[in-house]
């Protein structure tokens, strides 16, 4: 486990040419880890038929609407695999 709850992280600003569960609207955005969920196969590998797939920790990361959209007072929490994230 690399990131504890409360850690600020940034989603990598990438545009992969394969399947991913990294929603486009959070790419490049900074947020805060609010929960460590568990370790699951990386969907990229599973979708590509890579066996065994890499298994990584998944985190619930909270973003502010103002950061994501430039307006709004809500938050959006997105589950993200470890390799989707960097330190901010």
């Amino acid at each position: 486990m690399t990131y504890l709850a409360g850690t600020r992280v940034r989603v990598r600003a990438v545009d992969p040419d394969h399947h991913t569960r990294m929603p486009r609207y959070v790419r490049g955005q900074a947020g805060e880890v609010v929960a460590v969920l568990g370790r699951w196969p990386l969907p990229e590998d599973s979708a590509s038929g890579i066996t065994p797939p890499r298994v990584q920790t998944c985190y619930a990361v909270r973003f502010s609407a103002a950061d994501l959209w430039g307006s709004g007072d809500h938050t959006v929490t997105v589950d993200l695999w470890e390799s989707y994230l960097d330190r901010p």
Binding site: Y25, L68, D73
Partner: protein, 191 residues
């Protein structure tokens, strides 16, 4: 090649089934058996019972919010195929669930997901303007209530624990469960 987006959902699903069958990954009988089994027990009554129990039993509420799978098992809905995470509404915080990538949903506890949950409109707008989306469901939240949107992008599935309605102190768990709606457990309605 026909654009799959032009096909009605049932026809798209059937095409996918035919591909699975052609690839030798499943048979029609296996698919039927799986769906029959899934829908025989999958119902929002299950999630409603868990919510009502959490309203009446503080220990169960703590369990539900800290370990959803253990709470589901204790209520008799064990062996979930996903990690269940339950988020609690309060007078100051309203939670709502969406899956922007597809339609992830705790089917065994909420039953089959409604069509709108899978619509592009709900999926794209809920993360962008949840207050407006909720208002279209008839859920008008005071400006003082903050909104937390949960986008189910992983193997976790989310369920909302609604606020117990006022004036229900005399009701037992079964009567309380009857008040809990599917939309209340998604977060598009209050209970």
């Amino acid at each position: 090649m026909t654009g799959h987006d032009d096909l009605p959902a049932a026809a798209r699903a059937r095409r996918l089934e035919e591909r699975l069958i052609a690839a030798g990954l499943a048979t029609d009988d296996e698919l039927d058996e799986f769906l029959t089994k899934l829908y025989a027990s999958a119902s929002p009554v299950n999630g409603a019972l868990m919510a009502a129990r959490a309203w009446t039993d503080p220990r169960y509420r703590d369990l539900l919010l800290s370990d959803g799978n253990a709470a589901a098992a204790e209520a008799g809905f064990g062996a979930l195929s996903y990690q269940l995470r339950v988020v609690a509404n309060t007078d100051q915080m309203h939670n709502v669930i969406v899956c922007t990538l597809c339609s992830c949903y705790p089917v065994s506890l909420l039953g089959p997901s409604p069509g709108w949950y899978k619509s592009f409109a709900y999926r794209s707008r809920t993360v962008r303007e949840p207050r407006a989306v909720l208002a279209e469901f008839g859920t008008m939240l005071p400006d003082t209530v903050r909104i937390s949107v949960w986008d189910s992008t992983s193997e976790a599935r989310y369920m909302v624990l609604p606020v117990r309605p006022a004036g229900t102190g005399a009701l037992d768990t079964g009567q309380l469960a009857a008040l809990v709606t599917r939309n209340g457990l998604i977060g598009t309605a209050l209970v």
